[in-house]
């Protein structure tokens, strides 16, 4: 089942400028036949040599999905997706997984080189462990030994299924059940690989864990599955970054991320999302339909989501926190940019269940060109959430007069002692601000980038240092050509 991607390269011809990561790597792929039925699910599970329980779990999810419908409540215009035309599994064609970086296909390493991923010694220098996901199979995991000596598990999802089945079986689907929503059900049925993290009791993970995802083979929907478990009193910071090569047809990305924080544990999850957004005419681009949810299971646990969303033609994403443990804390910091014809409907859900639970939501939406940006957020105070508190701040920034910003807060309070605060602002980058910066010698692009970065400051400061720098550059690149 190999498809030759080299013909795609010639089809693409001279790659258009503008999207820096728009190249296609020529490697033989091992792909599932297009289409989606029970056999596809069995094929994937067999390919991955999965145990029977996981195959059953997948099939159960698939049967849920068959009864579900594409959600329509988001403020998005989505072209119909032909789920039968997509390919649901694609792995670099190599019989055995590489044991070290030397065994990794040089083409793949070159791809990472172009993306600037610190995989080799650069990873060691930067103190980042990279579990690089190329299409569907993890090709290299660095720092595994260092982490392993501490008892921290950081590996591909597939490996976790083989090596740590008891943990996977206990927690898989415990935060995002198979039938949770259309895209989560689809992911549960056909997920190919992803990352797994377990941090044992009382341990502070000494480095930022980082995964880069990359969609490569044509027409391959990518379905990542991430599961992070922070045991009692532990701490982990996880970075996720995404870039994808340029393609003309839309590609579907439907990931599921589940976080579990036990008593006194903390998880910090940061994303910089830079999938291909489509061209200036709105052609192509990634459909990013992601379910991310964390459960603060234990007392005094904490989960923080920080996201910078600059890419994708369509973003549908609501990283959420279920605050079960008393005194647990949920945070959501978000920057979402839409330029040209990009659409984003993103936000969070904070479900307060335990006593004295607290949540903070800071959302910064930036719309340029004909971009449409919607913040959608739910804050729910359950009957037992005594003295729970939420603070929400939603700011929108408009660049130009053809874009849109929308704020849709849902607030449900079933406990009279709970307090919810919501603040929202919408502003426009003024000609006066741009002229002021220019009159000090800054170019139009630099002026815009400065103003936008200032607007996003409250979110960017939550990112780990190396990510913050990348994010600032991305903001500038994403807004190129939006003024002047």
């Amino acid at each position: 089942m190999s498809s030759d991607t080299s013909s795609d390269v010639s089809k693409l011809g001279a790659l258009r400028e503008g999207y820096k990561f728009g190249f296609v790597t020529e490697i033989d792929s091992d792909s599932a036949p297009p289409g989606l039925n029970d056999d596809t699910v069995r094929y994937i599970s067999a390919k991955k040599r999965e145990p029977q329980w996981l195959l059953d779990w997948r099939l159960e999810a698939f049967h849920h999905w068959q009864k579900m419908e594409n959600p329509h409540w988001a403020k998005l215009r989505v072209a119909p997706i032909d789920y039968q035309a997509a390919t649901y599994y694609s792995a670099p064609k190599r019989a055995n997984a590489p044991k070290s970086l030397d065994e990794v296909d040089p083409e793949i390493l070159q791809t990472y080189e172009k993306l600037g991923i610190p995989l080799h010694e650069r990873a060691a220098l930067a103190g980042v462990a990279v579990d690089a996901v190329f299409d569907s199979v993890s090709v290299a995991t660095t720092f595994k030994k260092t982490l392993g000596d501490l008892g921290i598990i950081f590996c591909s999802f597939g490996e976790a299924v083989r090596e740590h089945p008891e943990l996977v079986r206990k927690y898989l689907g415990s935060v995002v059940p198979q039938g949770d929503n259309f895209f989560a059900a689809l992911n549960s049925a056909v997920f190919s690989d992803g990352s797994f993290v377990y941090v044992p009791k009382g341990l502070r993970c000494p480095m930022e864990l980082s995964t880069y995802f990359r969609i490569n083979a044509a027409k391959t929907g990518q379905f990542e599955r991430t599961l992070i478990i922070a045991d009692q009193g532990s701490y982990v910071s996880y970075l996720e970054g995404c870039t994808a090569p340029q393609r003309d047809e839309n590609q579907l990305h439907a990931a599921v991320v589940e976080l579990i924080a036990l008593e006194d544990a903390q998880i910090k999850y940061s994303t910089v999302q830079n999938w291909y957004p489509g061209d200036a005419e709105g052609k192509g681009g990634i459909y990013n339909f992601v379910t991310k949810r964390g459960a603060c299971k234990g007392a005094r646990s904490k989960i923080s989501w920080t996201q910078v969303e600059t890419g994708s033609a369509i973003t549908w994403k609501y990283p959420s926190c279920i605050l079960e443990g008393d005194d647990s804390v949920g945070e959501f910091y978000s920057v979402a940019i839409t330029n040209n014809f990009q659409q984003a409907d993103t936000g969070t859900k904070m479900i307060h269940i335990g006593k004295n639970t607290r949540s903070t939501i800071i959302s910064k939406g930036i719309s340029a060109g004909k971009g449409q940006n919607t913040y959608r957020g739910l804050v729910r105070m359950q009957p037992k959430a005594q003295n729970a508190r939420n603070y929400t701040q939603c700011d929108s920034l408009l660049i130009g007069d053809k874009c849109g910003a929308h704020t849709v807060p849902y607030i449900e309070t079933r406990n009279p002692t709970a307090r919810v605060e919501h603040e929202a602002t919408t502003s426009k980058i003024s000609d006066d601000q741009l002229f002021y910066c220019q009159s000090r010698g800054l170019s139009m692009e630099d002026s815009l980038s400065l103003i936008v970065n200032g607007f996003c400051k409250a979110v960017l400061k939550e990112l780990p240092m190396e990510f913050a720098v990348e994010a600032q550059k991305l903001l500038a690149v994403s807004l190129e050509g939006s003024v002047g």
């Binding site: 003024s430 002229f435 910066c437 000090r440 010698g441």
Partner: protein, 249 residues
Amino acid sequence: MLEIKGLHARIADGREILKGVDLDVKAGEVHAIMGPNGSGKSTLAGVLTGKPGYTVTQGRVLYQGSDLLTLAPDERARAGVFLAFQYPVEIPGVNNMYFLRAALNATRKQRGEAELDAGQFLKAVRAKLKLLDIGEDLLQRGVNVGFSGGEKKRNEIFQMAMLEPKLAILDETDSGLDIDALQTVAKGINALRGPDRAVLLITHYQRLLDHVVPDRVHVLSGGRIAKSGGKELALELEKSGYAAFGDAA
């Protein structure tokens, strides 16, 4: 340094505000432009620095011998033209110090000079702050965010001192200032004076000219320079008012 010939300019609604301005400012000179409200003072400052919303219909402006009007606002700035704003603009979330360093390095790059690193920059900043008697707390705040009127004007002068422009245009920087702030402004201008620089002081009142002695004073009225003279002209205006010039329109 600056040569303005028969300059006509309109604002967005089509009204002609400048109706043939002639002005010649030589290197080393300080010129004051005075005039009643609505005479075109701010329009002149805007046209010279490239502020959007103005259309030049006739005339030309030479800066150091070449056409100024074809340059973008940031190109003019990097070529050494500085505008101290009448109403400085707030940029939330952008640290004042970071902003100034970005501006200074953009200008230095243009001149082919090396960018200043954080240490060198801080040293330069401290020297200018001392000269102007401005507190360091100003540096860590957002650009003009929550500044009082006086702080905003002081910040403009501080930026001017750091950027060391060839041609500084001050648009009513003195209006609404208490005497201390006024002296900071005067100190900044006087420190900038030099044989290869020029200053255009746009002002409504005479009082700044007690502290900064101009080489020439011009009265702008009805979109034209109605009268020019030495520093004594400012005193004369203070006594007789602008009414004597009527509205040249």
